[in-house]
């Protein structure tokens, strides 16, 4: 015990003159811990808010949805549940604003009853949401009204019927900024739906029933009784509980991705800790040797410095945690467009605790790697400075490496990868990057020594020689700068990749207007109308919607009950939009099987073709039997081929394609794609279509494209915001490694000065040395980043990564420049003092 207090005292004393330097290394973990705590606090709050707000998001205790009208016996079941109930029929449709003569695709929600029971449709004036059902009134999304310069009191035409606008919708249950921009909502009373004439067979209509229980605790029990019957009719059941789970899952993924980015920042911080402690220990070698000489034991020396590290690690983690808790105030603002709920701001003690524990663990583990040497410092150094004991491998070092490997593995699993195999691969990749960088550093020092350009001038020779002289920083700086560059650049490249994946390729001849919900008997007339407007008929396809009932004889309930059946549940839940044709289109190619088998000539079996990636996810293969329910008629099919589909082309692409000759008589609608050159022409044509065929909906892709771009910009902003942490941490790591390395260079610079070297010469030597280091490190780092991005693109995103030159060059110039700059600023401190003073000051 007495021994321990002495260790603490020694640690305290020894740190006095180097506290600022100690703090430097710990500062590299502050940002990482802050990012981690911020994300975790946000995610904890989000989870809590989901729990609290799920009720107002779905607006009722129970919501039943179906793509078909509820059959009479289901209606009877629903009626028998009692409580309060509302009905809603919703679908996409064009509306017309007579005042401005404008048309626009909206989501019509025809409603009867007092839904929502929790929360409310927020309207201006506020009483409008409770009164519009009494007469022929509509509630219209606020931005829609703005867009068509209409106001409360004006009118709107939905199908064949005009409605008075009684209020503007500010907010409604389960509405986010994004859904409202694609198809803004228009509420009308259900009693007028029939007379709009919009309900035709084949249109995609969603029927909903909202139920508020007299006793909400009964939801579970009641649902248990009727669930099988409802599921048999493909009715979706949403309860407050299932909404919580769904939202939790969706936003769990979001926060997982973000905390992974935070993890990257923290990893960079680890490099900072290890590299700066490494250099710190080098400075302390002589002190330790003296301590050893006068009788301190190896472990005692180790503990003195470990105490310092623990104290600093704790301090850094606490500062980081505090900063992170403050930072989470920003996150909800950043995410508000994505979230259907208001995120509250509160401190999460759990997140703070985790952040501190992780920060401390990291500081200790990564500091131990260089620190453990202290145990074995030979006291002989006292007599012969610079003496390093024969490099016998310390077995304890390997246990630390194993601990670090385990820690990174566990942390990456827990923090976002969520799969042990992938986490292992990730950790191995990090290890490989580390090994490659060390190897490169060793190779470079060896090569410079071997092929030293003896005929270069003094300054160049001197700066080059610094890379291999004793006490050089080459290895540690190349590894830390290189790994930092690799992490940051990978993040950046992946971001570019993600953005390029979702953005549409907009080539000149691509369609920009889509007409859908065209009835079979309307197709000829619509085509004629388009031709009359001089518009090209780029693509015209029929679409049949259907439901999957069985895969190889297994139903959804089989798949749910029997875990050995791998077919996922969602495969049975989703609606399949299918077309039929006998040829491939130019956005797809045959990947497996034979397309020919999709032809129906002289065949009994119906061979269908599936998208390859989708089939993989669904875990089906060629020859598997799928039973579809096509609007009431069961159709048995066999998978005949897989297609590789280029999804980001503006095309109507299909997961499932039937052969001709099966679906012609099924209820269906058609899609027509065309290209309109000017907004005026587009408005003219839309107006004409809507007045002649009110059931047809039109999507103006230009509008959608700009919306998508807006969304992408926001996503990119979120990613950049998080990446900023990694970049800042990288910068701090860079600064601290270079600053600390200064203490190694001072002696030499001072000596040179004493021997008469000029300021300029010493500056040039330093600048060149850091230029070599920065260039080498950033080049290798970039190569690593390219390799890892390529691998990610190939294995995770199923695409190819084509790097562009400019970002590469930019990263190289910035990293090298910053390294040089910091190196130069460093040497300035040495040069501004007379040599005598520096000689006397502790180095």
């Amino acid at each position: 015990m007495k021994d321990f207090t002495w260790l603490l005292k020694m640690a305290w004393r020894d740190s006095r003159r180097s506290r600022s330097r100690l703090f430097l290394f710990i500062s590299s973990i502050i940002l990482g811990v802050a990012a981690l705590v911020a994300i975790q606090t946000f995610s904890d709050n989000l989870q809590q808010d989901i729990d609290e707000q799920a009720r107002t998001i779905i607006g009722a205790d129970l919501v039943l949805n179906s793509n078909r009208q509820f059959p009479p016996d289901i209606v009877a079941i629903m009626d028998s549940i009692g409580g309060e109930q509302s009905s809603q029929v919703s679908f996409a449709s064009m509306v017309f604003f007579p005042k401005s003569q404008g048309t626009r695709l909206v989501e019509v929600r025809a409603i009867k009853g007092n839904f929502p029971y929790y929360g409310e449709i927020d309207t201006d004036p506020s009483q409008a949401s409770r009164q519009f059902q009494d007469s022929k009134q509509a509630l219209v999304d606020r931005t829609l009204l703005l867009q068509f310069s209409s106001n409360t009191g004006d009118s709107i035409r939905v199908g064949d019927l005009g409605f008075g606008i009684s209020g503007s919708v500010l907010d409604a249950p389960s509405q986010t900024g994004i859904t409202a921009t694609v198809a803004p909502p228009v509420y009308i009373p259900l009693q007028y739906l029939e007379s709009t004439g919009l309900i035709k067979k084949g249109s995609r209509i969603r029927y909903s029933r909202f139920i508020k229980f007299d006793d909400p605790s009964q939801v579970g029990a009641v649902m248990e009784a009727v669930r099988p019957r409802l599921e048999k009719e493909d009715i979706d059941i949403d309860t407050v509980q299932s909404t919580k789970e769904d939202l939790g899952e969706t936003f769990g993924n979001l926060t997982k991705f973000l905390s992974f980015v935070a993890f990257a920042a923290l990893l960079l911080g680890c490099i900072g800790v290890a590299s700066s402690v490494h250099i710190y220990v080098k400075e302390k070698l002589d002190t330790v040797a003296v301590l050893r000489c006068i009788g301190a034991k190896g472990p005692q020396a180790l503990w003195i410095y470990l105490c310092q590290i623990i104290a600093m690690g704790l301090l850094g983690s606490v500062i980081g945690a505090a900063g992170g808790s403050a930072l989470q105030l920003l996150l909800p603002t950043v995410f508000s467009d994505f979230l259907p709920l208001d995120v509250s701001l509160s401190i999460s003690w759990q997140a703070i605790f985790n952040g501190i524990v992780i920060g401390l663990t990291i500081s200790i583990l990564f500091a131990l790697v260089p620190l453990i040497k202290v145990r074995r410092i030979s006291p002989l150094r006292v007599l012969r400075s610079g003496y390093e004991s024969a490099d016998d491998r310390d077995p304890l070092l390997w246990s630390i490496y194993v601990c670090i490997f385990g820690f990174v593995l566990a942390f990456s699993y827990w923090q976002g990868i969520g799969d042990w195999g992938d986490a292992f691969v990730f950790t191995l990749a990090l290890l490989a990057a580390f090994a490659i960088l060390s190897l490169v550093a060793k190779l470079i020092t060896w090569a410079i020594r071997k092929f030293f350009p003896t005929n270069w001038n003094f300054i160049w020779r001197q700066s080059l020689a610094n890379l291999y002289r004793p006490q050089n920083q080459t290895l540690i700086l190349i590894v830390s700068i290189g790994l930092g560059t690799a992490l940051i650049a990978t993040l950046y490249f992946v971001q570019q990749l993600l953005i390029s994946q979702v953005s549409f390729s907009s080539r000149g001849d691509q369609p920009n207007m889509v007409l859908f919900d065209i009835q079979t008997e309307q197709t000829a007339a619509v085509s004629q109308l388009a031709t009359a407007h001089d518009l090209p008929l780029i693509q015209e396809v029929p679409i049949v919607t259907m439901q999957l009932i069985e895969v190889n004889g297994h139903t959804k309930s089989d798949a749910v009950e029997d875990t050995t059946i791998a077919y996922p549940k969602w495969a049975f839940n989703r609606e399949y939009r299918v077309t039929y044709r006998n040829h491939l289109i130019d956005s797809e190619e045959l990947a497996e099987g034979t397309w020919d088998s999709t032809s129906m000539e002289n065949r009994d079996t119906i061979f269908i073709s599936m998208d390859q990636g989708f089939a993989e996810n669904m875990k089906v293969s060629l020859g598997d039997e799928l039973l579809f329910n096509v609007q009431g008629a069961p159709i048995k099919t066999v998978i005949g081929s897989f297609r590789k589909v280029e999804w980001n082309r503006v095309q109507t692409n299909f997961l499932v394609v039937f052969p001709k000759g099966i679906l012609e008589e099924a209820p269906q609608f058609h899609v027509l794609m065309t290209k309109v050159n000017s907004p005026e022409k587009s408005a003219d044509f839309q107006r004409e279509v809507v007045s002649q065929f009110p059931n047809i909906s039109i999507i103006d892709l230009n509008l959608i494209l700009s919306t998508v771009n807006e969304i992408l910009d926001k996503v990119a902003f979120v990613i950049r915001f998080m990446a900023l942490f990694s970049i800042l941490t990288g910068l701090i790591v860079l600064i601290s490694s270079v600053i600390i390395s200064k203490f190694q260079r001072i002696k030499e610079s001072v000596l040179l000065r004493t021997l008469g070297a000029q300021k300029k010469q010493i500056m040039a030597i330093n600048a060149l040395e850091y230029f070599f280091l920065g260039s080498l490190a950033s080049t290798v780092g970039l190569l690593l980043a390219l390799a890892s991005t390529w691998a990610l693109a190939y294995f995770s995103f199923d695409s190819t990564f084509v790097p562009s030159l400019w970002p590469l060059l930019m990263v190289y110039v910035i990293i090298t420049g910053v390294t040089m700059l910091i190196g130069l600023l460093n040497s300035k401190g040495v040069l501004s003092k007379p040599p005598l003073e520096v000689l006397r000051s502790e180095i």
Partner: protein, 228 residues
Amino acid sequence: MSSILDVHNLTKTYKNGSNTLTVLDEVSFTIEKGATFAIVGPSGSGKTTLLGLCAGLDRPTTGWVSLDGHELHKLNEDQRAALRNQTVGFIFQNFQLIPTLTALENVMVPMELNKTAGAKSKAMDLLAKVGLAERHHHYPTQLSGGEQQRVSLARAFSNHPKILFADEPTGNLDEETSEKVVNLIFDLNKEAGTTLVLVTHDLELAQRTQRVIRLKGGKIVADQLNVA
């Protein structure tokens, strides 16, 4: 009188690639308790190497050293550290004070390692003896070379060592300061009855000890007793 340091056939070689450099060649001698002893010789003759081996700071290639009855080659690193702490004091040419500690703290360290009670007051006494009581709160960089060497002297005596090793203690000092430091070394040594092993190339200084051995090329070339 019994011996405190027994050096037997000590050889130290360094391998440098294919070359073998013999720095010490079969050196043997014995030092009695309380004696004063000087090792002289030109630079590079192996004096520091010999001192390092005697104090257990390094391992010999062949031969052995017995310090205060302990055969050093039979002890491990930590045991040798403990032995140094209890029986050995050091003075170096380049002082080797711990730059992050004050003068007082530097003197206290060996006692604190040893868990000696009242370390602080003892350290203050020692600093007073070397004439630096009022400089106790200064850091090494705030002290002159002679002052630093006096602090290291105080540190060397803080544990009542049985033997004091001094490697060119005046090598970095001017004549006047040297004189002061040397006098201090001999005075403190006499007072404490410590054995003194002094490495120097200063023959005048060497004459003040009872016995002088001369090293050249790693071999003892002369061993002479001084008449007091």
